[in-house]
Structures are given as structure tokens and as C-alpha cells.
């Protein structure tokens, strides 16, 4: 009996379906739990979902590489989803156009510092060049960050983990600072969320409203484009 069960398990795991089912289930359960506990700003749905997913993979004894191979089918949708961000961007274009000057002034230092603070801190604490390269694109949206990490010689799973923590930290920090400093401007909050917290910040910004969402999409894409050009150059200059 247990032998045939093991065979069945092996048979099912040979297809990408278990990985896809687990990801969907963890995402939905994470969202549900998030709503159940009244949307804590320090622990967004994605963090709950990721922990649930990691726990179920460990419990079911599924190897991460096997899981990743299956779930890669889902990640394919990341491409069209990035293209889809052009729609809110277009819809908010009049508002964005009116503010091109502050946006263009703020973006380059903000995107550069987002990378430099972390790389600098890690360097001071003695991290290896491999780790530094994985931390550099931490505020960049996943499809671009993967390309940058490969170029700099970083480790993709570590970079993605950094992405998660950065996204979660950014939404938490923005939430706290907005309340503390009484900032309610959706353009400012959205932009800050997108520049620092990439997709996770953008998801949070859309919860705040369409204006915040559009400014977050803008901040996220500009940070992505800018970092993709700037980080490889900076790396070469620093001789890393």
C-alpha cells in the first residue's frame, strides 16, 4: 500500500501540476489569513504565503529544485504581468506628466542609494562579493533583478530572498513613516513604495488606491531601468 502511494507521489511530482497547485493554494491561504488577522502592515500576505509554501514543501519532502522546475511555468506569467503595468501607467499619465521634474530629480539618487546602503552595510560586515552582488538589485523588480544578478555574479535564490525582505520592510516602513509624519499624498507614498519595494510595494500601493498604484508602477519601472543600466557600470568601476 505505502509502496503504491510512493509510486503515485512520484508519478504526480513528475508533472509541474503539484508545484502550481501548492503555489496557488499557499497564495490564497496567505491572503485569507492576512485578511483574517486584519491586514497587519508588518506582515504582508506575500510573507505569510511564502512561509506557508516553504513549510509545505518541507513537510511533503519536495526538493526545492524540483518545485522550482514545476513552478517555473507560473513564473512565465511574470513577463505579460510586467507588460500589464503599462495600463495603470497610461491611465495616470496626465498626473505623472505634471510631476516629471520631481520624479526625475528624486529617482536616480533614490535608486542608487537603495542599492548602496545595503551593499555598503553588508561590505562593512564582511559579506562575500557573491553576497554583495545578490544584494545590489534588492529594490529591483524580479524579472530585471534576475538579469542584473546574473551579470554581477550573484546568487539568484539569495537575491530573491532579499527581494522578499526588502519588499516587506519597505511596506512596513512606509506604513509607519506615513502615519508618524502624517503623509497622505498617494503620489508620494506610491512612488516611494514602488522605488523601494518593487512588486510587493506596488501591490501594497494598489491597495491604497489607483493613483498610488500608478506612481508605484512608475517608480518600480524607472528603478528597474535605471538600476539595470547603472549597477553593472558601478560594479565595474568599483572593481568587484
Amino acid at each position: 500500500m505505502s509502496e503504491s502511494l510512493a509510486l503515485l507521489r512520484e508519478h504526480l511530482l513528475a508533472t509541474p501540476m503539484p508545484a502550481i497547485a501548492l503555489t496557488l493554494a499557499a497564495f490564497l491561504a496567505g491572503n485569507r489569513l492576512f485578511l483574517r488577522v486584519n491586514r497587519p502592515s508588518g506582515c504582508p500576505a506575500i510573507l505569510i504565503a511564502a512561509m506557508l509554501l516553504a513549510a509545505s514543501l518541507a513537510l511533503l519532502g519536495i526538493d526545492y529544485d524540483d518545485y522550482r522546475a514545476g513552478a517555473g511555468w507560473l513564473m512565465l506569467l511574470l513577463g505579460p504581468a510586467t507588460v500589464a503595468l503599462g495600463v495603470p501607467l497610461f491611465q495616470q499619465l496626465p498626473r505623472i506628466r505634471a510631476l516629471w521634474r520631481p520624479i526625475l530629480i528624486s529617482l536616480p539618487p533614490a535608486a542608487m542609494l537603495a542599492a548602496f546602503y545595503s551593499v555598503g552595510l553588508a561590505w562593512v560586515l564582511g559579506a562575500s562579493p557573491e553576497v554583495l552582488a545578490s544584494l545590489a538589485p534588492k529594490s529591483v523588480t524580479a524579472p530585471i533583478a534576475i538579469g542584473i544578478t546574473e551579470q554581477l555574479g550573484g546568487v539568484i535564490p539569495l537575491m530573491m530572498g532579499g527581494l522578499l525582505i526588502t519588499g516587506v520592510m519597505s511596506t512596513a516602513c512606509v506604513g509607519v513613516l506615513a502615519r508618524y509624519l502624517a503623509i497622505r499624498d498617494p503620489r508620494v507614498l506610491g512612488f516611494v513604495l514602488g522605488v523601494n519595494g518593487h512588486v510587493i510595494g506596488t501591490v501594497r500601493a494598489f491597495e491604497l488606491g489607483p493613483t498610488a498604484g500608478a506612481f508605484a508602477s512608475l517608480g518600480m519601472s524607472l528603478t528597474g531601468i535605471f538600476s539595470a543600466l547603472f549597477l553593472p557600470l558601478a560594479w565595474r568601476l568599483l572593481g568587484l
Binding site: A49, P80, L89, K138, P143, R187
Partner: protein
């Protein structure tokens, strides 16, 4: 079938992005080039069709789910970077706190004050 038609548009623009990135050797991801092309095309057309609206809205709603497979990898590489987790943790937590504060300061400094509430 509006969602499917819209999805085809998105994939079409992604392919365009891929073609541009490859032929011009751009250092940016195809998705971002596709997004910019999509924005430009919408500007030229002046409006968003129902199809594209439906497809993009549903994809944006699950954006966080699409990065989950990559993100959970961090829970499985703990041993590989033993001894560096303090550096990584401090860099991520403190670094993000600093960069959020800086961006916020920059935006408040340069943003005109006339906030239009939604």
C-alpha cells in the same frame, strides 16, 4: 473572451520587447521594454480597450503570487551562506529603512504640495 484577447495583446507586446532587447542589445528586461511599448501604444491610441483592461487588471492582481516560486528559495539556502546571515539581515533591514527614508525625504522635498485627493 475579453480576458483572452487582452492576454494575447500583452504577450504580443512582450514578444515585441523581446525582439527589441535582442536586436538592440538593450540591458533591460523584455517585460519592461514591452511595458513601455504598451504605454506608448496606448498614448497613441488615446484609450485602453476593454480587453486589455480586463487582462491587465487580473494579472496585476496576482503579481505577488508570480514571484513566490523564486522567493521561497531563500528558505532552502540557509546553509550555503552560514556566517553571512547577520550581514545580509542588517543590510536588508537597515538598508531598506534608510532608503525608504531617503526616498520619502527626496519626494517631499521636490514634490509640489497641492495634493489632489482621490
Amino acid at each position: 473572451m475579453p480576458a483572452l484577447r487582452g492576454f494575447l495583446w500583452l504577450v504580443g507586446f512582450l514578444l515585441l520587447g523581446q525582439a527589441l532587447v535582442w536586436s538592440l542589445r538593450l540591458p533591460v528586461s523584455p517585460g519592461v521594454v514591452g511595458m513601455l511599448a504598451m504605454t506608448l501604444w496606448l498614448v497613441l491610441r488615446g484609450r485602453v480597450s476593454e480587453d486589455i483592461q480586463v487582462a491587465s487588471q487580473s494579472l496585476i492582481a496576482v503579481l505577488a503570487m508570480l514571484i513566490m516560486p523564486g522567493v521561497v528559495g531563500v528558505f532552502f539556502i540557509a546553509e550555503a551562506f552560514a556566517g553571512q546571515w547577520l550581514a545580509v539581515g542588517v543590510a536588508l533591514v537597515l538598508g531598506t529603512l534608510l532608503s525608504v527614508t531617503t526616498t520619502l525625504w527626496l519626494m517631499l522635498r521636490f514634490m509640489p504640495k497641492d495634493a489632489t485627493d482621490e
